[in-house]
């Protein structure tokens, strides 16, 4: 075998401003030797044995796509459920289309019930009251009184159960301890959901199901053209169980992408009660291999989730007057972040409402005063609702944004109608302002919250066109160029991996995504339609069927 392989393409989008365009890329081992044209590569090729691999000569290459925020363990749990989501999904088992309205939803639950072996619990993911109407215990009892039927909400924060399922989940005992379990309606939400997971978790992940589902998650990530992803919140399923399963599935040399693990602070505190950071570091030092590495970054969650509408909003609040929730109270943020901050970790803060964003920025400012740092790369994740003033403050504090590229696309119009009103819903994930201010932006899926499809995220943020076809908040569009940077080099920068991945240049890892068409040529409106032909990771080609 030759020392150097030269891949050729119709166009190579390097995402490196010094040499943005190329048609040939030479790879030795897992690294790039040089990017350019077959002619410009000659000084290397004259001196070294090489082969030209022109199978992608008619295709377009782009620096390997990066999803900086994925939850493989959560997606693995959900892949062992049946799916009836409010939007169509491409799953390893095939395409799931979306039932419309309550009747169709319940009919589909009924179909699943008749097609399954008797009395095996039926756990269905994707229920969303705004799309499927109000469904509770009685409706599900009408489908079966014997088989446990559980609807897991699309927001991930709630299940609704029939009588048999309430029994299966030991919900009566749970209800005597937890006010968020309501037996009458069969609802178990927020902390009540944690009670349900005592039964759901082993049911869905036991008997080797975790490993096989994680293999399916891996297929989805590959399909998205992703060559590197970060588990932004590693440890939520338990550090040891998660690592061992990841190691067995994602750690294999044949895995078509790199996995970076960003420990979640609260989960780490649960695992190592005292000296959390020291113990976590000692534990992580013994782990990681060619495909899996720990990064010197840590995740913390400020206010509640976007899809569940539990983000903490300032004036004028939610249309229906409900309140958001804190996952980490403002007073605790600094406390939990401080040891990591002082040890030089980059902090990645989940925040969704403008009050959540504000509390996160307050915490960063406090830490900056207490223990000044340069190049801290603190990143706000999801970034649902914010203000222009916060964009200015983000800039001033040297903070970056990793936005959910899917919120507006999927939920923009619905959330305007019932929760946020038009002005604020139109300005969710305010990225145009960030681009104008020169703030670094990356886009993520938060899989399973959105699909692992960086090209869709880029399209959605560059057009701000929802799935329903409405354009919302045009001034907050990203330019197509920034949108593509946000799924490549800028995502790498935020993970402090931009010296290794995110762009194509001599010496960097040879990670490439091969596309059927050129995003710049098709334009922002059609980027998501471009087929992913293959990925190349460390010089190794992983074709997509």
């Amino acid at each position: 075998m030759s020392e150097i392989t030269v891949f050729t393409a119709r166009r190579i989008i390097t995402m490196d401003e010094s040499l943005p365009d190329a048609t040939a890329i030479a790879v030795r081992g897992d690294r790039i030797v040089e990017v350019g044209t077959l002619e410009s590569l000659q000084p290397w090729l004259r001196h070294h044995e090489h082969v030209v691999d022109d199978r992608f000569a008619d295709q377009v290459m782009i620096a390997g796509l990066i999803d900086p925020h994925i939850h493989p363990s959560l997606m693995a749990i959900l892949l062992n459920c049946d799916w009836l989501p409010p939007e169509p999904w491409d799953l390893p088992s095939g395409r799931v289309d979306a039932p419309e309205g309550k009747d169709e939803f319940l009919a589909r639950v009924g179909d699943l019930h008749t097609s399954k072996p008797a009395n095996e619990p039926l756990v269905i993911f994707g229920y969303h009251a705004q799309y499927h109407g109000w469904i509770e215990r009685n409706d599900l009892d009408a489908i079966s009184t014997e088989r446990p039927v559980v609807l897991w909400q699309r927001s991930f924060h709630e299940v609704r159960a029939n009588t048999a399922a309430l029994e299966w989940l030991d919900a009566a005992e749970g209800a005597s301890w937890d006010p968020h379990i309501d037996l009458e309606s069969g609802r178990m939400y927020e902390s009540g959901m944690v009670w349900a997971l005592r039964t759901l978790n082993p049911h869905l992940l036991g008997n080797g199901q975790y490993k096989s589902a994680l293999g399916d998650v891996s297929t989805l990530i590959h399909r998205g053209g992703i060559t590197s992803m970060c588990d932004a919140g590693f440890g939520i399923g338990g550090y040891d169980q998660d690592y061992d399963t990841y190691d067995a599935v994602l750690g294999q040399q044949k895995t078509p992408f790199r996995t970076y693990l960003m420990p979640q602070i609260a989960a780490a505190k649960g695992r190592w009660k005292s000296d959390t950071l020291e113990q976590l570091e000692a534990w992580a030092a013994e782990r990681g291999n060619g495909r899996i590495s720990f990064i010197k970054a840590a995740k913390i969650l400020a206010d509640g989730a976007f899809i569940a509408q539990l983000m903490v909003l300032g004036e004028p609040g939610y249309i229906d007057g409900h309140q958001g929730a804190w996952l980490t109270e403002p007073e605790r943020l600094v406390h939990l972040m401080q040891p990591f901050w002082e040890a030089g970790y980059d902090l990645h803060i989940h925040c969704n409402g403008d009050i959540g964003v504000g509390a996160s920025l307050d915490a960063v400012e406090t830490l900056l005063h207490a223990h000044p740092r340069v190049d801290h790369r603190t990143t706000l994740h999801h970034f649902g609702i914010s203000t222009q003033a916060q964009i200015r403050r983000i800039k001033a504090l040297g903070v970056e944004i990793s936005a959910n590229g899917y919120y507006l696309y999927q939920f923009g119009d619905r959330f305007a109608d019932e929760w946020l009103g038009t002005e604020r819903a139109s300005q969710m994930t305010r990225l145009g302002a960030a681009e104008r201010a020169g703030v670094s932006v990356s886009l993520h899926s938060d899989l399973p919250m959105g699909p692992a499809a960086p090209l869709l995220a880029a399209q959605a943020c560059a057009t701000r066109r929802t799935r329903g076809g409405v354009v919302m908040g045009e001034p907050e569009r990203l330019s197509l160029d920034t949108a593509l940077r946000s799924i490549t080099i800028d995502a790498a920068y935020q993970l402090r991996l931009d010296h290794e991945i995110g762009s194509l240049a001599a010496g960097k890892l040879a990670d490439v995504t091969v596309l059927a068409d050129d995003p710049y040529a098709v334009g922002a409106d059609a980027v998501a339609d471009i087929a992913v032909i293959a990925t190349i990771v460390g010089g190794e080609v992983y074709p997509l069927a």
Binding site: S191, I236, E315, R332
Partner: protein
């Protein structure tokens, strides 16, 4: 179970540390951050593993833990803690926190909210937190006004007044007296079985009186006499026509349950002044004499 509420900086941790230092029972604590607990004090009344950090019960953060599960696990411990104290977060409504726990296995002693007398009025006006700051005080059974020592007397009076306008429950001034912690905060002062007991030592700022009766009492009239009596605490066992009543008052909340034990026919009454306690004792005399 006791829930401590109040805005950030109101003094919850300070009070919690004092409770741990002066309690004569074994306490398990559920706190926001273990780092804030004075472990030396804690060791007196709580074993090391009885200090539990509260993890938020959201599935996004931690799949395995919630307050409900934590409380349940604490009650299953051997030996079982005699009291659980939860330090609610500064942005939580302590009444919502108190909704956790099986009341049959973890009776609620009191929701105690601390309010910084110097900043309460301003905070209560500040959006978006103002309504929450007020709700923390409005929902409490007892309100402890803190940081009065930092204010001149006019400001202290104004501070207390601003808290009182929001609170339906008695508002009392914080004290460092160990007896005050035991009687008012922990409500652990029990009536003595014998009449010729040594009276409890006096405590600045509160008045204690043991009210005794001989005959059976009527629950409805008893409840009416205790409600809005202005008492901070009342505790004891009384004879009812068919059973024994366990009487528990914490500020605004009266709880009367039936038990099978023999009654002591006595209530310890604790109030802010002799006048309050005497008035309450008279009201009780009236219900047992008629």
């Amino acid at each position: 179970m006791t829930v401590l509420g109040g805005w950030l900086g109101a003094g919850k941790t300070t009070l919690l540390n004092r409770m741990l230092a002066h309690a004569d029972e074994r306490i398990a604590v559920v706190v926001n951050d273990i780092g804030e607990i004075n472990v030396d004090a804690a060791l007196i009344s709580a074993a090391d593993d009885e200090i539990v950090e509260l993890t938020n019960g959201c599935v996004c953060c931690s799949i395995g833990q919630s307050l409900a599960l934590t409380l349940r696990e604490l009650t299953l411990r051997d030996p079982r803690p005699e009291r659980i104290v939860i330090e609610a977060s500064g942005v939580a409504d302590p009444v919502q926190v108190a909704a956790y726990g099986d009341r049959r296995r973890v009776p609620l002693d009191a929701v105690i909210t601390l309010a910084d007398a110097g900043t309460f009025e301003r905070r209560a006006r500040l959006d978006p937190y103002g309504p929450l700051v007020k709700a923390q005080v409005a929902g409490a059974d007892l309100v402890v006004a803190t940081k009065l020592d930092l204010l001149n007397s006019d400001a202290a009076t104004a501070g207390l007044e601003s808290i009182r306008t929001v609170s339906a429950a008695p508002v009392i001034e914080a004290s460092t007296d160990p007896e005050w912690i035991r009687r008012v905060i922990l409500g652990s002062h029990q009536p003595a079985r014998r009449v010729d007991y040594t009276p409890a030592p006096p405590v600045t700022g509160i008045s204690t009186h043991t009210w005794r009766t001989t005959g059976p009492v009527d629950v409805t009239r008893l409840t009416a006499a205790l409600e809005h009596s202005g008492l901070l605490r009342a505790k004891g066992t009384l004879t009812a026509p068919d059973n024994t009543l366990l009487v528990h008052l914490a500020g605004d909340r009266v709880e009367i349950t039936t038990i099978t034990d023999h009654a002591l026919d006595a209530l310890v009454l604790i109030g802010t002044s002799d006048a309050v306690v005497t008035a309450a004792a008279h009201a009780l005399d009236r219900i047992s004499s008629s």
